[in-house]
């Protein structure tokens, strides 16, 4: 009964308590967002890496995918050796290049182009039309939209630009066979895909491959296939999704540091808010608390009631903070994704129920702890002195 009485006391000063709850909700929302941000990019990237079913990447030795212009010579031979490794289900070669779209006398900005095996559907999903054959292209949805392209249209691509004359060189003509949704593009990006032999011929890099995507058999651990590929083909590097996420984590350390700092600030603010409200409330009820102790309510029960007040404040703040945090995460995600070069399918904020529950649990625990301090002060105050002060 004393616990419920103390909880009712919390809402006696509605305005003050609601303000405190609003503050705790904002702190809880910030902590939720920082928790989601700390791992969001890595988790989202990991999901994207495995989206097409190709969960491993094989690259030139010591190079991360598309991190440099290095390539693997004798792509066909390496592909055969990878395909022979136990646990490998499919191998998708990719050659990266840059071409410029030529329209009339004008030459456009460089467009990222991939030479692929049309059977693999590794880097894009076909939206309309069909996979490219020799002399054909799949264009990205934004490119098709911006240039009004559809299957059957012709497109001229230049491999080089004469910077003195401003004219395209090494121009070849291709037919658009289809429009594709490119998985790793940023929003609005113009991308192209052609057959691997066409890309090798256009770039003069016969037989070369930038990387391979590798799909594994069901039930086979990716890490074990990575080890076997490394043993069978020692001149390349093999990466599992987990390893690539780890590399991503290292590169995004500043995000984690920012998230940790802001998350810690949120927890401190929560502790201060709860502690302040409870302290003021306990001070206002000093006489009541002293009287309750005098009539025989144990100090332990009074302390429990005050701690429950802190728990309730923090708990209600979390409940209000959760939808606020999710809304803020959505807005912040849209802002961060507008930075150039970020794949559109990435999310900076990952909803991981276990981590979110842990973060909210931490806020509630901090509420309880913050209630502890004024509570201990109230029950440890010498009773006779407290009664005397209240009588004066």
């Amino acid at each position: 009964m004393i616990v419920s009485a103390f909880l009712k006391s919390l809402f006696r000063r509605r305005g003050r308590t609601l303000l405190a709850l609003a503050g705790i909700a904002v702190s809880a929302a910030l902590l939720l967002d920082m928790t989601m941000l700390a791992s969001g990019l890595a988790v989202s990237f990991g999901e994207l890496l495995g989206a097409s079913g190709y969960t491993l990447r094989v690259t030139p030795k010591g190079i991360l995918p598309f991190d440099s212009e290095a390539s693997i010579d004798d792509g066909a031979g390496v592909a055969r050796r990878i395909a022979a490794v136990r646990g490998v289900r499919a191998v998708a070669p990719v050659l990266g290049a840059q071409f410029r779209i030529v329209r009339g006398d004008s030459t456009g900005a460089p467009v990222f182009t991939v030479g692929i095996d049309p059977r693999s559907e590794f880097l894009y999903r076909l939206d309309s039309g069909r996979q490219p054959g020799p002399g054909e292209l799949v264009v990205s949805v934004p490119l098709a939209r911006d240039l009004g392209l559809k299957a059957g249209d012709e497109l001229a691509l230049a491999g080089e630009l004469d910077v003195t004359l401003g004219r395209a060189r090494a121009t070849r003509r291709y037919r658009v066979s289809g429009v594709g949704d490119f998985l790793y593009d940023y929003a609005g990006e113009h991308s192209l895909a052609m057959t691997l032999p066409d890309a090798q011929a256009a770039t003069g890099r016969a037989g070369s491959v930038s990387l391979f995507g590798v799909a594994t058999d069901a039930g086979v651990a990716d890490d074990s296939v990575v080890r076997r590929i490394a043993a069978a083909v020692p001149e390349v590097s093999a990466w599992s999704t987990r390893q690539l996420m780890g590399e991503m984590d290292k590169r995004l350390l500043y995000f984690k540091q920012l998230a940790t700092i802001l998350g810690s600030v949120a927890m401190v603010v929560t502790a201060l808010l709860v502690s302040t409200i409870i302290t003021i409330g306990v001070r206002e009820r000093f006489g009541e608390i002293a009287t309750l102790r005098a009539i025989g309510v144990s100090g332990r029960r009074v302390l429990l009631a005050v701690i429950v007040e802190g728990l309730a404040l923090a708990g209600l703040g979390c409940v209000a903070g959760l939808p606020l945090g999710l809304w803020m995460a959505g807005r912040l995600d849209r802002i961060l994704l507008s930075f150039p070069g970020i794949p559109a399918r990435i999310s900076f904020f990952a909803w991981e129920p276990r981590r979110v529950a842990l973060a909210m649990g931490l806020v509630i625990a901090i509420g309880a702890l913050a209630g502890c301090i004024p509570g201990l002060g109230a029950v440890r105050a010498p009773l006779a002195q407290a009664l005397r002060e209240e009588a004066e």
Binding site: S9, G296, S298, G299, L383, A391
Partner: protein
């Protein structure tokens, strides 16, 4: 006829540290209270009346001396045990009523019973009975801010009676009340004492003192009259 002694205090001193020195609130007090007595402790401000009450009631440990309350060496018990004794066998009434404003009158009376583990139906029934006893049967559902000072003190008295205390302690129970309301409270005390409740009351109020069977006078930390 031999009457049972419910409170026996011997050689009580109480010092409070103050700016490197000590304030001697009690300087060697002996006092006995028999069952069914109503004892008023009177004296000028600062003479140690409230300090003595707190020591007798188990609220404040003496610097030296011994207190036996209801046959128990009071300060041989730990704070938890003294708390339990206060809850189940003693009653307290204070100058400032200190009811919980968020609870109704009935809920305030129920609170000590809830802490003592009395079942909900039983404590609700007893709370209604006690409020009737103190003349507030029709105000059970009102919260303290909607009660007058006299009504709040009556609720406090009902709360003090909740666990059927053997001894009732009151510190300036009419201090915050007007004369007429104070007289109503005195009447209630007389009724309680008539029903057999042992009472120890600290008071400045001559009328309260006048209604007591024994008046203990204090001055400068000592009992100067009325001790046994």
């Amino acid at each position: 006829m031999q009457t049972e002694t419910v409170i026996e205090a011997r050689g009580i001193t109480r010092e409070y540290p103050y700016q490197g020195d000590a304030v001697h609130a009690l300087r060697g007090v002996d006092l006995s209270v028999a069952r069914g007595e109503m004892v008023a402790i009177v004296g000028p401000s600062g003479c140690g009346k409230s300090s003595l009450l707190n020591v007798l009631a188990g609220i404040d440990a003496p610097t030296s001396g011994r207190v036996s309350l209801l046959g128990t060496d009071l300060y041989a018990l730990g704070e938890g045990a003294r708390s339990a004794l206060r809850l189940r066998r003693l009653g307290f009434i204070f100058q400032r009523f200190h009811l919980l404003a968020v609870l109704t009158a009935a809920e305030n009376v129920e609170l000590p019973m809830a802490e003592a583990g009395v079942a909900r139906d039983e404590r609700r029934r007893r709370a209604r009975e006690l409020l009737e006893y103190v003349g507030l049967g029709g105000r059970a559902g009102h919260r303290p801010p909607h009660l007058s000072g006299g009504e709040q003190q009556r609720v406090a008295i009902a709360r003090a009676l909740a666990n059927r205390p053997e001894v009732l302690f009151a510190d300036e129970p009419t201090g915050e009340l007007d004369r007429r309301t104070g007289e109503e409270i005195i009447t209630l005390f007389e009724r309680l004492n008539g029903d057999g409740t042992t009472m120890v009351i600290v008071t400045h109020d001559a009328k309260v003192a006048g209604s007591a069977r024994r008046v203990v006078e204090m001055a400068d930390g000592l009992i100067v009259g009325g001790a046994r």
